[in-house]
């Protein structure tokens, strides 16, 4: 297919997309939060949803092993462009399949090592969400959902980069370990506002390092997320979020690596705009808090994201 004909086909798809039969957007309590932040969840009447979220991540420094914030020196640059292609499918009543495939492009400049660009597919995530109590399904009762998921090491881990000339590690797109996750989400939604609390347990499985052959296991971790949002005007929702990620010490060759636990808190803002009953534009800003003791053994980053979501229903 030539470039002009690809353009015509793309334009045709876009026209078809926005011309799909739709029902009016409902101003119900179930709707405010579903598309507010990231992948979110399916609206109660949607059969599936797909999305693309592109994020620019800038590494500004790190929290050291004593919890002190240290800004990176002038000779260091660490940028990442991450695009997540994701999908949600309504399998049966209240059961949703979620898939997220990240595509990653890195740029890193590190002192006398020079700079490098690399990337590729990141670590694939897939899971199931069971809405035990659907949001908005019961009067005066918050929604409650359970989820299980896994992360597959489809990305390129650092230990596989040794000896391939990628000295700044720009081609690293994953951690190299399978991860099993289980989570719970509690969500209270009114007509114009919502509050969501989520807690996820992540359990990485042991892996064998490609560079040394040693067995390694990332520590189990908890990820907590609190999101509160409200409708500014019709179809425009503003949300604020607080997140806290914690990970236990790494185990290497059967021994726990001291001080390798991670604490990574952050805050963010998100704006979502349902431009069409099927289509939502999303944007968000997430950042660490660059203050001593508000992090441990973790990079300090600012992430700006822009997303497009299409939800299908008849």
């Amino acid at each position: 297919m030539t470039a002009p004909s690809r353009g015509v086909a793309l334009a045709g798809m876009l026209v078809a997309l926005v011309s799909l039969p739709s029902r009016p957007a409902r101003a119900a309590s179930c709707c405010v939060s579903a598309t507010a932040v990231g992948m979110g969840r399916l609206l109660n009447w949607e059969r599936f949803a797909v999305g693309l979220q592109s994020a620019f991540v800038s590494g500004l420094g790190y929290f050291d092993l004593d919890g002190r914030w240290r800004r990176a020196s002038a000779g260091y640059r660490d940028y990442q462009w991450r695009s997540d292609v994701w999908g949600l499918v309504d399998l049966t009543h209240h059961l949703t399949l979620a898939v997220d495939l990240p595509l990653i492009l890195n740029y890193r400049a590190a002192g006398d090592l020079g700079s490098g660009v690399g990337g590729g597919v990141g670590d694939l995530q897939a899971g199931l969400r069971w809405d035990v109590l659907p949001v908005g399904g019961y009067a005066n009762r918050p929604g409650f959902a359970l989820s299980v998921a896994f992360t597959a090491p489809t990305g390129r881990a650092t230990d596989t980069a040794v000896g391939h000339g990628d000295v700044v590690g720009a081609g690293v797109t994953g951690r190299g370990a399978w991860v099993l996750s289980a989570g719970a989400v509690l969500e209270k939604a009114a007509d114009t506002w919502f509050l969501r609390c989520g807690l996820t347990l992540n359990v990485p499985l042991p892996m064998t390092r490609a560079d040394t052959g040693a067995s390694q296991r990332f520590g189990p971790g908890l990820a907590a997320l609190l999101v509160a949002g409200g409708r500014l005007v019709e179809d425009l929702t503003l949300s604020g979020l607080v997140r806290l990620d914690w990970e236990h010490d790494v185990t290497l060759a059967g021994a726990v690596v001291p001080d390798s636990w991670v604490l990574d808190p952050g805050v963010g803002l998100a704006l979502s705009w349902r431009v069409h009953p099927h289509v939502t534009l999303q944007t968000s800003l997430d950042t660490n808090l660059f203050v001593d003791w508000l992090g441990h053994n973790a990079p300090g980053r600012v992430t700006a994201a822009l997303g497009l979501r299409y939800g299908h229903f008849r």
Partner: protein, 134 residues
């Protein structure tokens, strides 16, 4: 020059170390983690920087005699991300119990732990030093 801090992991946990030392003293044995050989580490440049560095490892016996002919490994490790470096250091013996590992490559900012391990038969010694690379 970027500010770099260095500390021994053993000095960061006084209570467990004290208990461990008491236990060792009571048992009369060698430190099961650090071994019987004494391993001292020095970097070039000192303090180390973002990029490639050399690490000098001085190994002595319990009575302070420099030891040659040992197997020496130097391993950089970034605990924040759970990974090592993108380059494998090569160790050469300089004589007089001194060994040089190069390149010890810190390709990201953050805290790096450098483990130096020297061994000969059942004898070994280990040193773990943390460097903060900005």
């Amino acid at each position: 020059m970027p500010a770099v801090s260095r500390r021994s992991l053993r000095s960061s946990r006084p209570l467990p170390l004290l208990l461990g030392a008491l236990l060792l003293a009571a048992c009369g044995g060698a430190d099961p983690v650090q071994g019987t050989l004494h391993v001292a580490v020095q970097t070039d440049p000192d303090p180390p920087v973002l990029g490639r560095n050399a690490v000098f490892v001085d190994v002595t016996s319990a009575d302070g005699t420099p030891l040659d002919g040992l197997a020496v490994e130097v391993t950089p490790w970034m605990p924040a991300h759970g990974h090592g470096s993108t380059e494998q250091p090569i160790v050469e013996a300089l004589g007089g119990g001194r060994y040089r590992a190069f390149p010890v490559t810190f390709f990201m900012v953050g805290d790096w732990q450098v483990t130096a391990r020297a061994s000969r038969g059942d004898e070994f010694g280990t040193s773990v030093t943390t460097y903060s690379i900005q």
